[in-house]
């Protein structure tokens, strides 16, 4: 899961030493098996998204994307991510600061609770908001009296998106800030820097790549969430459909080319996410290597 620290290794170093080198037939059998598994279960589905999207030609493809309901779903997806990601960045930074820089009782429980949304089925995540804010929920009566709609409306979609993306930034920052310790911050405080200044000028530059990494993963999940959003959305076309829900509706109406056209946009987003992620890992590895060199010189 945490690829940040692994990225700096030299590859092929195991093949240069006799004791760790496998016979060629072993190597190529294992490589063949691994590549086949990868191609069958990952590569083929990815390629088929684009193949199906373009099956009826570019004209149908573009028509499906610029159609008003599709545009509305793209806007809603962007809106949900634009709210959920910043909220979880603030939370992630606060949580990492508290956990990594201080000792207190119940820290391990807190870390487990932060990870909790990862273990909860998306459907259950949607359900709990229906129980709180739905018509028969705890606040249902009050919300109806004041004419506020949360479930089957945009606020519910945002809430469900926030829930499923809670851990992403925090779980990237916590191990990183724990590994970096607090000496640098303490030195800055001794020299008279205020808490905010320490954060902006000492901590943030040290964790910026980890933070970016968390933001990228958080954003991908926020834009792609399906189960939780599906429960609270109500599926009103043009109003409460995010891109994944729009895809579902098109698919169930047998408009396969259109469904895959919108899906291909999300697949492109996934590819951009993976490329950015690889780039950030590479930068992070460089930053760690540079820091180690500084420490040795």
């Amino acid at each position: 899961m945490n690829g940040l620290f692994a990225a700096g290794h030299r590859y092929g170093r195991f093949e240069t030493r006799a004791a760790t080198r496998d016979p060629a037939w072993v190597k190529w059998t294992l490589v063949g098996l691994g590549v086949s598994y990868f191609a069958l279960f990952l590569l083929l589905p990815l390629i088929s998204v684009f193949a199906e999207a373009l099956r009826k030609g570019w004209e149908v493809y573009f028509a499906a994307i610029v159609e008003p309901d599709a545009i509305a779903s793209i806007k809603l997806t962007l809106l949900a991510a634009a709210i959920a990601v910043p909220l979880n960045v603030v939370f992630g930074v606060a949580a990492a600061w508290a956990v990594a820089k201080f000792d207190f009782r119940g820290k391990q429980i807190l870390i487990t609770l932060i990870d909790l949304p990862f273990s909860v089925s998306p459907v259950v995540a949607g359900l709990i908001y229906v129980l709180v804010f739905g018509l028969n929920g705890w606040f249902g009566g009050w919300l109806r009296e004041h004419d506020i709609k949360i479930i089957f409306a945009v606020p519910g979609i945002v809430l469900a998106t926030v829930f499923v993306t809670v851990p992403f930034v925090a779980r990237e920052l916590i191990p990183l800030m724990q590994a970096q310790g607090k000496e640098e911050e303490e030195a800055a405080v001794v020299l008279g820097a205020s808490g905010w200044r320490v954060f902006w000028q000492v901590t943030l530059p040290n964790v910026k790549w980890g933070l970016l990494y968390g933001v990228i993963l958080c954003n991908a999940r926020a834009m792609g969430e399906f189960g939780a959003v599906s429960v609270v959305s109500g599926h009103i076309r043009g109003l409460t459909n995010t891109m994944p829900l729009h895809i579902e509706i098109l698919y169930n109406e047998y408009q396969f080319a259109a469904a895959f056209a919108v899906a291909s946009l999300l697949a492109l987003l996934a590819l951009v996410t993976l490329i950015l992620k690889t780039f950030v890992e590479w930068r992070q590895a460089k930053a760690i290597a540079a820091a180690q060199e500084d420490a040795h010189s």
Binding site: F38, L46, A95, V120, S121, S230
Partner: protein, 270 residues
């Protein structure tokens, strides 16, 4: 002493309570309103039990396959240089980044009667789409990165000197793998397996398109929660959700213990 402790912990606890803990608590409060017979009737109805068997069974099978091939992929990525290694290393995380609904329709298109794989398998009498086998295939897809990504860093950190020592003592490569390398990666392997299993049990988006969703045959537990909700059976939906949540907690605990074991194991290695 650094500043900002009460502010940062305050934000953390308030946010976590409002977004996660209080809504989750609602689930238990709602269930507490049910009597035992009502609860039992909701969670032990034959149609619901059939979904547990499918969800847990398919998740277990998929996690087992991913444990075997995840270890193999991690090994290949760390140990060997070959054309396309970098590409595979980047794309292994695809199931984390690709929205589940997209994965769901792509797999369905691949394995349906006219699809690239379905048209090859159908003449052999193997039906994947709209059967329990389809559920399994979808869960293999979404669980694939977990074992690779937990085992990979441990294999990378594993010192070549252990293997040289084993070789100089006359051990074969296979014996070195079984007795030196495998024990070192076992905790990470189990952690990845548990993570993949936990994710697969609750998975919804990638499964519902390919499953066919036939009651008693290819209906998963998250779907029955939605079905009950659509029939305004809030009690039933909540009761089944509590069963799933209870299971999530147990797995989360197991994963935490495994990770602690894994950290101790790798910490002891010089």
């Amino acid at each position: 002493m650094l500043p900002g402790f009460s502010l940062s912990l305050g934000i953390t606890l308030t946010y976590l309570s409002l977004v996660v803990l209080i809504p989750l608590l609602t689930l238990f409060l709602k269930t507490a309103q049910l009597s035992w017979p009502q609860f039992w009737e909701a969670v032990a109805a034959p149609r619901v039990v059939a979904t547990y068997l499918l969800s847990f069974g398919a998740a277990l099978a998929a996690a087992l396959l991913n444990a075997a091939f995840g270890l193999l992929l991690a090994w290949v990525l760390v140990r060997y240089n070959f054309p396309g290694r970098k590409l595979i290393d980047t794309l292994v995380d695809l199931p984390f980044a690709l929205p589940t609904a997209v994965a769901g329709i792509a797999l369905t298109a691949l394995y349906s009667k006219n699809g690239w794989l379905g048209s090859l398998l159908e003449p052999l009498g193997v039906k994947v789409a709209f059967t329990p086998l389809g559920v399994f295939v979808a869960l293999v897809f979404i669980g694939l990165p977990f074992v690779v990504r937990t085992v990979q860093p441990v294999l990378e950190d594993h010192d070549a000197e252990f293997e040289e020592a084993a070789a100089s003592l006359g051990a074969s490569r296979l014996r070195t793998f079984a007795q030196v390398i495998f024990p070192a990666v076992l905790p990470a392997l189990l952690t990845g397996f548990a993570l993949a299993f936990a994710r697969a049990v609750g998975e919804y988006g990638s499964v519902i398109f390919i499953a066919g969703n036939m009651p008693y045959v290819s209906e998963i537990t998250p779907l029955i929660i939605i079905t009950k909700l659509e029939q305004y059976d809030y009690r039933g939906a909540t009761a089944v959700a509590v069963v799933m949540l209870f299971f999530s907690f147990v797995l989360l605990l197991a994963i935490n213990l495994l990770q602690a074991w894994s950290a101790r194991r790798s910490g002891r290695q010089p």
